[in-house]
């Protein structure tokens, strides 16, 4: 076999991505903050002991999709990464890499969406950068956003904090964004009105924390979907997780598309959903707070943390049987027959 090279699978958010991070990036960037493995880094800088910092890049095709565009996604993604630590997002930077020939009106629609989304969640875009590359050197437009937020005192949320007995809550239906992008990207020849769930969730997280500040884990199940995210948390916290298939909220249209193509909604990306791990006694309070927010009205408990050690995720299937839920390996590819 030929020498190793980057393939599309390395960007899927699954095992190839995590191997790349472990074997290349962490090897050379190794430090105590990066090794925590959360979506954002908590920084102690002098007196500012509660700063949270994160970055993300957006290279989605198509750049306009049902339910949003790459600009809205770029703000939501970074705001949500800050929110997963419990932080209130404050400031964003944005870097644009634009392909020569790109339509300026389309650029303005993207930037307008970024401005509106930032306003909705009370963050300011305070610095930025623009580069234009030759035709063919980028696909229309790529955006990087970095964000800084502030963590309230007493909040300690991390993928390492899942505890036996925790209830696992999802804030709404799964697979909407992944299915929407998939249908728009590929010429499959049928239409299903699936809208991306792309949304900024910092307000919803603040609603949860205002009633239950002792939430253990928050994580937005983006690339790799709920299945991959739960596996990451299981490994970080060294616990086993059990989820129930009959509790997983999946829109009928999303289920239909997945059935047809042999894909699994558990691995489809989400851009407006939050997984929340919380002690059993607080689960109903969190659920109520979520359901009172427009982005969490379909929230429900999907499972629990069952035991310590031997990190794994099990699914109790509708049939009564159980199966292991593993990390996404490469991209999900539609079946042949």
């Amino acid at each position: 076999m030929e020498k190793n090279m980057i393939t599309i699978a390395h960007g899927s958010g699954g095992t190839a991505t995590s191997k790349l991070i472990e074997q290349i990036f962490k090897k050379h960037f190794c430090n105590d903050i990066l090794s925590q493995g959360d979506d954002s880094a908590r920084l102690d800088i002098g007196d500012a002991r509660n700063l949270v910092f994160t970055t993300d890049s957006f290279v989605v095709t198509p750049i306009f999709f049902n339910g949003g565009n790459i600009g809205k996604l770029a703000v939501c993604g970074t705001v949500n990464d800050l929110a997963t630590s419990g932080a209130k997002p404050l400031y964003l930077s944005c870097g644009f890499i634009i392909e020569e020939g790109f339509d300026i009106e389309e650029l303005e629609r993207i930037v307008e969406a970024m401005g509106a989304t930032a306003k909705e969640c009370g963050v300011k875009i305070v610095t930025g950068d623009t580069k234009v590359v030759q035709k063919g050197a980028a696909d229309k437009v790529f955006i990087n956003t970095s964000g800084i937020g502030i963590l309230p005192d007493g909040v300690n949320i991390s993928g390492r904090n899942a505890k036996v007995g925790d209830k696992i809550i999802i804030s709404g239906t799964i697979g909407d964004h992944g299915s929407s992008i998939f249908l728009e990207r590929e010429s499959i020849g049928f239409n299903a009105n699936i809208k991306s769930d792309c949304a900024p969730l910092s307000g919803m997280v603040q609603d949860i924390l205002s009633v239950v500040p002792e939430v253990h884990v928050l994580r937005d199940p983006t690339r790799g979907g709920v299945a991959t995210t739960l596996n990451e948390i299981a490994v970080q916290s060294n616990v086993s997780i059990l989820i129930r298939e009959d509790s997983l909220p999946v829109k009928r249209e999303v289920q239909g598309v997945c059935e047809l193509l042999g894909m699994d909604p558990l691995y489809m990306a989400n851009e407006g959903k939050m997984l929340c791990f919380v002690g059993e006694d607080k689960a109903d309070t969190v659920l109520e707070a979520l359901r009172n927010n427009k982005y969490g009205k379909d929230a429900r408990i999907i499972g629990e943390v069952t035991e310590e050690g031997q990190p794994k995720v099990l699914l109790k299937a509708l049939s009564g049987g159980s199966r292991i839920i593993s990390v996404l390996a490469g991209d999900q590819l539609p079946r042949i027959c």
Partner: protein, 361 residues
């Protein structure tokens, strides 16, 4: 949608069938699910864990990607080096390893490899790019082959000459005959593929039941379809009632889809074919008929497929024949994983090893 999914996932009814199956205490039975989609569904719904140890489900050669030989992938990756060629393929084929490379690696190196969902999209691409040769990697069983035939006849009728297909299509009947007659395997009954049966009908499977004395059930893909079909099969075998039952009659008829069959045999004809891991099965493949030979990529690009040995230590062949389970292979979950598959059964999402890897068997 409701009538085709929810009713076949009713946990109460499933519970009753499972209870009945768990009461089985007869001799050990070997049931082969021929189709990769069945293998995946059995794993996905955890059905194997619901059956008593006396009912053993073994996985057959019903994943078209899995049975595509290494030499075919080598031809495809070599063709991908031709700057004038656009390779179009179903998603599953992208990761299947040849001797030296995969299509996903060729794509990363700059070859023009595009995933399509239908060969008709590939014809479209040929129409839009008259200066390129668009080649569709033509693999699949009776389910996918009619639409590939349609793409070829459409290209011919529209005068599109820069489209061709590299064939490795296979048909199920001869493979089932081979497995039925395998004295080492001793299969008691077959779960037949609903998709393939929808095209070819049930006559051939009746022949296997009545002439080769192997019980069979044509089954759908929902958990209730599969469990109920297993129950029918077990009851029939136990009672010595060696027959074929069609438990997927909402989709499958006795005669199948005549139009699809006609289209398939307008463009293709039976040829001997090599099945990865199994070897040559006479008249189990489909080649392009003379009338359509200008659409045959092997002729257009003078491709001669070589005999290529299977990777050392890989048990895909034994797994495809149902003689070994993925866990019996020393490479499974070690050198062979879905990101770096050694054998074909790990490549496709419908492959036995991929199903066992992903869902734990």
């Amino acid at each position: 949608m409701r009538n085709y999914i929810d009713e076949f996932r009713d946990s109460e009814v499933i519970g009753k069938i499972v209870q009945s199956l768990q009461g089985y205490s007869g001799r050990r039975l070997k049931i082969m699910e021929v189709c990769g989609t069945h293998t995946m569904a059995i794993s996905r719904y955890g059905l194997r864990s619901l059956l008593p140890p006396q009912i053993e489900l073994i996985s057959g050669p019903g994943c078209p990607v899995c049975v595509t030989p290494t030499s075919y992938i080598d031809s495809a990756t070599e063709l991908a080096d031709n700057k004038n060629v656009v390779i179009t393929t179903f998603g599953d084929m992208m990761r299947i390893p040849g001797s030296n490379s995969t299509l996903i690696h060729k794509k990363a190196q700059g070859s023009n490899v595009q995933m399509v969902y239908s060969p008709l999209n590939a014809v479209e691409l040929a129409r839009e790019n008259p200066d390129k040769e668009v080649v569709f990697l033509s693999v699949g069983f009776e389910t996918t082959t009619p639409v590939i035939a349609l793409s070829v006849s459409k290209a011919k009728s529209e005068g599109i000459t820069n489209y061709s297909v590299l064939t490795a299509n296979k048909t199920m009947p001869e493979a089932i005959k081979t497995l039925s007659g395998d004295s080492e395997l001793l299969i008691d009954g077959f779960l037949y593929p609903g998709h393939v049966s929808a095209i070819i009908g049930t006559d051939f499977f009746s022949y296997v039941a009545y002439n080769m004395e192997k019980a069979g059930v044509v089954a759908g893909f929902e958990p209730l379809d599969i469990l109920y079909s297993i129950k029918v099969l077990v009851d029939n075998i136990t009672n010595g009632n060696i027959v074929l039952e069609n438990m997927y009659s909402r989709i499958v008829s006795k005669e199948g889809n005549i139009k699809a069959q006609q289209k398939m045999y307008e463009v293709f004809e039976p040829v001997d074919s090599v099945w990865r891991g199994i070897g040559m099965i006479p008249k189990s493949g489909l080649g392009i008929v003379k009338e359509y030979e200008i659409f045959d990529a092997a002729k257009k690009f003078d491709i001669k497929q070589k005999d290529t040995p299977e990777p050392k230590g890989c048990l895909c062949g034994e797994v495809l024949k149902g003689k070994k389970r993925p866990g019996d292979c020393k490479l499974f979950k070690k050198r062979c994983t879905p990101e770096n598959p050694v054998g074909s059964c790990m490549v496709s999402s419908e492959g036995t090893c991929a199903a066992y890897y992903k869902y734990g068997g």
